[in-house]
């Protein structure tokens, strides 16, 4: 029996095949944008070569329990703006909801230092031009009462008219539709009747939450990315079936769980941002496997540095996301990004007679100066190269030769302005970047009410291991785990394979304290029933279904809410007695003060609950991480040689380089050292030690004082 995880990235399509015994075979193929399904098959073929006994792909597929698929296709559609020609049908008088964007559309998701330069801020290009928006007479009020009934003739005319305009997908979003879904449902039925091929998204189906702008955006984005995504999934399914696969296909969502291909075709909006989420799922899986409860997951690639949190083995979620400045409702893993990747540009700042790192990025194209692809401005990757942290001949497994001389010259040009050497600038730039990362992580954890010192850092992506020792040190984290083993280069694909099927059900309902235990229990039970029957229809038995309960709470008169996981409430969050209710309110007070400081709670205003949420999980077979047994031998087994590396500002020192794949399990190597891996390097500064564990990870920690 096998499990397959797939991830389509911008450059490579990754595949991991996990067999019963835990053997993890991986494969990569180049992503061909015109033919993604063939990229997938290519990666599958590659990976199956690594399966024990070198079985044929058809054999793997014949004996496969599930294929879990992550893709950035919808994200790319939004970035490249090559989605479907989309129309919108809305309540009369509300055509402009998507262009008004609550005014925040000019700045949502824009980094604060950028939005201060007002002339360079703007709203995004509309996803639906106004001429493709139709208003119909209908109105529901806040209580769900119908004020104006739906004018079906106008709906028919609108649909006909939009289709005549060449629309391939329609979003339907009425005010308060989630309180009275019948009007939107009727539009969908009428569309099915007349235009069975039209892709239709309903706000009330996708996001049963207060807030017409974000709900409408959810429906519009869903329709915009829908037809392209459905076409791809259909071709993929055909391709897999023709190769003999009969089992279920799951698609990764931004909440870190998966859903069935059939559901993904209805609600592709929930795949936006699923790449980082799959990475978080992989971290969460690994953390549980190695017995770490709290993790700060850090992923550094060429353009961004992403941070997410795992607390008590659960990735921290969020409920509103932003894509291209559009805010939309989507249950997602909370991952924050700063533009601090290897491509961040180092520049001279005349006014302060100093230099800056970022926010401009050279990205992957032209990329750093050392790539030799035309980049002229030095980047963090150039600085890493000049300081000796990267080997010019072994970057990306030797796929990319790096030009150290060009990198040094570009850094020297900045140094000339400041009276510094190229190495001084590089050294400084790396310090600045590491401080920025530590700052982001610190803010991210503290703002969510946690202390970074209670967490371990996981460092993955091409560049995180170069910097993790120092940012963890700045934060006071006890250790850094660099996930390795053969799953590491295909981390998101591995996360896909490790994911469960997940559905999130919401119910907005305002209740004021004192709460009634039975009323709360009733609200959750209703959600669990709906979610459970959904999973049951997908073939999950009750034994394989798990529920997590969340409640959004606030003090009276507040607008912002704090999401409480009932599992974190003392007593496990049961709601049988008034004592349980008091425990919940007490836990809210505590959480509130953890977030905002002692004395910040104002209990006089009472407590309100404004929304109930159930995260229903259908558990799927787990991949197994192969053990790597302790091997005899000392560090000389892995010793490659020496090179000059800057660990001290005063100058470089000859530093041992180790081949990570040959480092014996359990052996500790003290810094300064560089551990060379297939796709990255680990920088082990003075005062740190590193060891390989039996799950094929590397663990970095400060040397204990003698």
């Amino acid at each position: 029996m096998y499990l397959v995880g797939l991830d389509i990235g911008g450059t490579f399509t990754d595949c991991v095949i996990v067999s019963d015994g835990g053997n993890t075979a991986t494969g990569k193929s180049r992503t061909v944008s015109g033919s993604l399904e063939m990229s997938v098959i290519g990666a599958l073929v590659e990976a199956s070569k690594g399966v024990e006994g070198e079985v044929a792909l058809s054999e793997v597929l014949a004996d496969c329990a599930g294929i879990f698929h992550g893709t950035t296709l919808t994200t790319n559609t939004m970035v490249q703006r090559n989605g479907a020609r989309t129309g919108l049908i809305t309540t009369r008088g509300h055509r402009d909801v998507m262009s008004i964007m609550r005014a925040s559309g000019r700045t949502a998701g824009v980094s604060v230092d950028r939005l201060m330069d007002v002339v360079h801020t703007d709203k995004p290009e509309p996803l639906v031009p106004k001429r493709l928006i139709r208003e119909v007479d209908e109105r529901v009020d806040a209580d769900g009462d119908v004020v104006v009934s739906l004018n079906e003739q106008q709906v028919r005319d609108s649909l006909e008219d939009l289709v005549a305009q060449g629309v391939e997908a329609v979003a339907v979003s009425f005010l308060w539709s989630f309180r009275h879904p019948e009007h939107e449902a009727r539009v969908k039925a009428l569309a099915r009747e007349s235009f069975p091929d039209l892709f239709v998204s309903l706000g009330s189906e996708l996001a049963a939450r207060v807030g017409e702008y974000e709900r409408t955006a959810t429906a519009v984005i869903n329709s915009y990315v829908g037809p392209g995504f459905v076409g791809y999934l259909t071709r993929l399914e055909d391709e897999l079936r023709s190769n003999g696969y009969k089992g279920p296909i799951f698609v990764m969502q931004s909440n870190g769980g998966a859903y069935r291909l059939e559901e993904a075709k209805e609600a592709p909006v929930f795949t936006l941002g699923s790449g980082p989420a799959a990475g978080m799922t992989a971290c969460s899986f690994l953390a549980t496997r190695i017995g770490v409860e709290n993790v700060i997951a850090t992923d550094m690639g060429g353009t961004t540095f992403d941070v997410g949190l795992i607390h008590r083995s659960r990735p921290i979620p969020k409920s509103t996301s932003i894509v291209d400045q559009f805010e939309f409702f989507s249950p997602a893993v909370d991952v924050e990004s700063i533009g601090s990747g290897g491509g961040s540009i180092i520049s001279f700042d005349r006014d302060s007679n100093s230099f800056r790192v970022g926010p401009e990025s050279a990205g992957g194209d032209p990329g750093p100066v050392c790539y030799g692809l035309g980049g002229a401005r030095p980047t963090v990757t150039d600085a890493n190269l000049v300081l000796g942290y990267l080997d010019p001949d072994l970057f990306l497994g030797g796929r990319q030769k790096l030009d150290a001389r060009a990198a040094r010259a570009a850094l020297a040009a900045i140094g000339d302005e400041l009276g510094l050497s190229a190495e001084d600038v590089a050294w400084g730039a790396i310090r600045v970047v590491e401080y920025q990362m530590a700052e982001l992580i610190r803010r991210f954890t503290v703002e969510r009410g946690y202390d970074p010192r209670d967490f371990a850092i996981f460092a993955y992506g091409g560049a995180a291991a170069l910097h993790a020792a120092r940012y963890s040190d700045l934060l006071g984290c006890a250790k850094v785990v660099v996930p390795q083993g053969n799953a590491a280069p295909v981390w998101s694909a591995f996360g896909a394979a490790a994911s469960d099927v997940q559905h999130v059900h919401d119910r907005p309902q305002v209740l004021r304290s004192p709460f009634d235990a039975a009323e709360l229990e009733h609200a959750f039970a209703g959600l669990e029933e709906a979610a459970g029957s959904g999973l049951a229809s997908e073939g999950f038995t009750s034994a394989s279904i798990e529920f997590e309960r969340y409640i959004d709470m606030r003090y009276g008169f507040q607008i912002h809410v704090v999401e409480m996981a009932l599992a974190d409430v003392p007593g496990g969050g049961r709601l049988e007695t008034q004592g349980h209710v008091e425990a919940l309110v007490g836990a809210f007070d505590d959480r509130y003060e953890a977030l905002f400081g002692r004395g910040s709670a104002y209990k006089g205003a009472g407590v309100e609950s404004v929304g109930f949420r159930v995260r229903a999980t259908g558990t799927t077979p787990r991949p197994v991480i192969a053990r790597r047994d302790a091997e005899p031998g000392g560090s000389e087994t892995a010793y490659i040689g020496e090179r000059f590396v800057w660990f001290d500002r005063e100058g470089p020192e000859s530093t041992p380089i180790f081949d990570g794949s040959r480092l014996p399990v359990g052996l500790e190597v003290s810094g300064p050292a560089i551990v060379h891996l297939q796709f990255t390097s680990i920088v082990v500064p003075d005062g740190f030690r590193i060891s390989a564990d039996e799950a094929a990870n590397f663990v970095l920690a400060r040397e204990q004082p003698e």
Partner: protein
């Protein structure tokens, strides 16, 4: 501070507090007096970033802990970081004019509280006094000294626009106030937090005045929490890097912002820029307007702002010096310090404020000032943006940031109250629809439709569904308002309209105080047109309920009604179930001559319902086929030629006193661009410098008021924007929309909203410093 020349005391009692250069602080207060270290670039960059993050982190704390819709949607709060003596380090990217008073709160506290009751570690001082720190009484500031090893090292501060702090009108804007005694109490800095604990006695006294003490108490805690975060983070940095290093970074932040500011000023010729706008006292009140004047003078490295020429303080339309200065600082930061994280401290060393007290925008105690922000401060910001934009258009790099006024130069204040049948509870407040206003046109790009404000980078408005939850109302529409943005080569951003009826309540009671209802208040520059006015309308006796029953969701213009009421400044207007209320927010202004606008851009605006066919023809001279919506190029060229011809026929050279209009001799200005269309050249005859239009026509000698040497035409005021209505509903004064044309090429050089018969405003006077 006491002004030696005038003898006026600027002490925060009768006149606003203006801090002296050297504060008088009780010597018993220990103040850190070490020497800032020389900081190397890495540490500078690391600490600079971390210091600025503190303001953002404090802001995030406020948002999540506060209960005020102003906080959540208006981002109507701000945070700041200061030196031991209250000078700026950074403030947050929230409402700019809210932050700009915090330094004053700290300095006043140092001068007046250091001896008694004393300033100690763990204390925080609260104030809302508009003569010291608040823009109006509802803006409540809490400042907190940061002690390091027993000495004051710096300060942090938070300010929030709170919901209700007492006074005769719910919500705090008392549009009918005669003086401060009709309004909420101004509170000079009091010790609200002592030794880390909120003082029960002070807090009880403070909350006692509010109609919603719970909400007010939440906001006290939000500020305390934010200040705790700020202080702790500040001290973390001190511990990590050493106190001398932190002091060195702070000094360098200020020096860097100062250097950027000065370098930018050096690229601009000296001169004076001037703008006149108006404050309305609408009917059923006096039905008059009063002038507000801003003059900006640049001499070398110094900018001076003056309010001379503004009318005396009157009624409830005033702000103090604090609000006036805040509006100006909010205008300076995005134009000059866009890459300095708005670190205003260093730049302010080169900005002088030259206020005349007792005027509308620099009122003396006991003037009514609670309506200062929606009336005077927004207008001050708009005027500052315009004079600064005209000034920096001389520089090829800075000019891209120049622009016409944003919308909301006057806020259509409109509060609803009543009893909600759904809960049986009273309600009251703003719907915040007006926050969906537009940003003014820039030199090289259009403004932003419903894009918020440049003085509040993160502003937003609530969803309709949020408002319908909070208030018993039902919206008929919320839309981008056609023709609301000012015309121009680049157009101003569209504003918003919102229409609603009472729903599940007997009636709504409206209290309003909307300036800019008779005359446009967002002025364009360099030929750009103004945005539309604020408009509040009540249709009485409509057939709305019957239409609902018939399955219709009608729009305003489709309703039958018995009476149409336009109002601006009204108390207690009731709206019953058959009455429909509509709000239109004033629009943002345009930039440049609308006849210069690319015709295809006009067609695109038409397709997207930002402008009407009528406006396309009349204002832009663009003919668009009604069926295909394509530009008819030949017809457009003919129409534009006809409009230019009419300009030359209608325009007259202004006459009148020209004696002060002397040519000046100046070197080094040749080639300088002093206006979008005007450049300084060597005069064709003689050695003087002249001002030349882009067409080559020599308009006048440098130093002369160009407006006296071009054609002027006074058009009816309603020509200024397609949405304008007859101002006589609200005012009796006669105003015109005045245009100035190049007598040769007929380019529209400038527009004015002017009182009939008034002399042209000398808006640009390049006057090089004589050595």
């Amino acid at each position: 501070m006491t002004d030696v020349a005038t003898g006026l005391a600027w002490d925060g009692y009768t006149n606003a507090y203006i801090a002296p250069d050297r504060l008088t602080v009780d010597p018993a207060l220990p103040v850190w007096s070490g020497t800032p270290a020389e900081v190397e670039p890495v540490t500078y960059e690391v600490v600079r970033h971390a210091l600025w993050q503190i303001t953002a982190e404090m802001g995030a704390t406020i948002v999540r802990a506060s209960g005020s819709p102003f906080t959540i949607y208006g981002e109507d709060y701000n945070t700041g970081l200061f030196t031991a003596m209250g000078d700026w380090i950074y403030f947050g990217p929230f409402v700019q004019y809210l932050a700009s008073a915090m330094d004053s709160a700290i300095k006043w506290t140092l001068e007046n509280r250091s001896e008694e009751p004393g300033i100690r570690d763990g204390d925080m001082f609260l104030t809302n006094d508009p003569w010291i720190a608040g823009n109006h009484q509802s803006d409540v500031t809490l400042v907190c000294p940061v002690f390091w090893e027993g000495e004051v090292l710096g300060w942090v501060g938070s300010a929030i626009h709170v919901y209700d702090i007492g006074g005769t009108v719910p919500g705090g804007w008392t549009a009918s106030a005669r003086d401060i005694y009709d309004e909420a109490v101004p509170i000079p800095p009091v010790k609200m937090v002592e030794g880390g604990r909120i003082r029960r006695d002070t807090e009880d006294w403070y909350l006692r005045q509010s109609r919603n003490r719970d909400l007010l108490a939440l906001d006290v805690r939000a500020k305390v929490a934010a200040n705790n975060v700020g202080r702790d983070r500040f001290l973390d940095l001190v511990r990590a890097h050493g106190v001398e290093t932190i002091a060195g970074v702070i000094k360098r932040i200020s020096d860097s912002s100062e250097r950027a500011f000065v370098e930018r000023l050096e690229r601009i010729p000296d001169g004076t820029w001037r703008e006149e706008n108006y404050i309305e006292f609408p009917k059923p009140g006096p039905g008059t307007v009063e002038p507000v004047v801003m003059t900006l003078t640049k001499r070398g490295h110094t900018l001076t702002f003056s309010n001379e020429g503004t009318a005396p303080q009157r009624g409830a339309a005033n702000t103090t010096f604090i609000g006036w200065k805040g509006g100006i600082i909010a205008g300076l930061s995005p134009l000059f310090l866009f890459d300095q994280l708005y670190a205003i401290g260093g730049a302010l060393k080169h900005v002088r404020f030259d206020p005349t007290p007792g005027l509308l925008n620099c009122a003396s105690y006991p003037a009514a000032v609670s309506c200062g922000p929606p009336i005077q401060i927004l207008l001050t910001y708009s005027m500052a943006k315009n004079v600064l934009s005209k000034m920096l258009s001389a520089d090829p790099e800075l000019r891209i940031r120049a622009g016409g006024a944003d919308a909301l130069s006057q806020f259509p204040l409109s509060v609803i109250a009543g009893v909600d049948d759904r809960t049986g509870r009273p309600f009251g407040g703003l719907t915040f629809d007006a926050f969906l206003f537009g940003i003014g046109a820039f030199a090289e790009r259009d403004g932003v439709h419903t894009g918020g404000a440049s003085w509040d980078p993160k502003v937003s408005a609530p969803n309709i569904e949020f408002n319908e939850q909070v208030f018993p109302i039902l919206y008929l529409e919320r839309s981008e308002l056609i023709d609301s943005g000012g015309a121009g080569r680049q157009v101003g951003g569209s504003s918003v309209s919102a229409t609603f009826v009472p729903h599940k309540t007997r009636e709504l009671i409206h209290t309003s105080g909307a300036g800019g209802a008779a005359l446009p208040s967002s002025f364009g520059i360099f030929g750009g047109y103004p945005g539309c006015t604020n408009k509040l309308t009540l249709l009485r006796g409509t057939d709305i309920q019957a239409r609902f029953r018939q399955g219709e969701m009608p729009q305003l213009e489709e309703l039958s009604f018995s009476e149409r009421i336009r109002f601006a400044n009204q108390q207690g207007l009731t709206q019953g179930p058959d009455d429909v209320f509509a709000l239109e927010g004033c629009g943002a202004a345009g930039y440049g001559d609308p006849l210069d606008r690319v015709p295809e851009a006009v067609a695109a605006d038409l397709v997207d319902s930002f402008i009407s066919h009528d406006a396309a023809r009349r204002l832009f001279g663009v003919v668009i086929d009604e069926q295909s919506l394509q530009v008819e190029h030949t017809a457009t060229a003919e129409l534009r030629a006809a409009i230019r011809k009419r300009r030359l026929e209608d325009g007259r050279m202004p006459v009148g006193d020209d004696t002060a209009d002397e040519p000046i001799a100046a070197e080094g200005l040749e080639g300088a661009r002093i206006h979008e269309y005007l450049t300084v050249v060597r005069a064709a005859s003689g050695s003087a410098l002249a001002v030349r239009c882009r067409c080559g026509h020599e308009v006048c000698k440098l130093g002369q008021n160009y407006k006296r040497h071009v054609l002027a035409a006074d058009l009816p005021i309603t020509e200024g924007n397609a949405r304008l209505e007859d101002p006589s509903t609200f005012i009796d004064d006669i105003f015109v929309f005045r245009q100035f044309y190049c007598p040769s090429c007929a380019t529209l050089l400038e527009t004015e909203i002017a009182q009939a018969g008034a002399a042209p405003i000398l808006d640009i006077a390049i006057a090089p410093t004589t050595p």
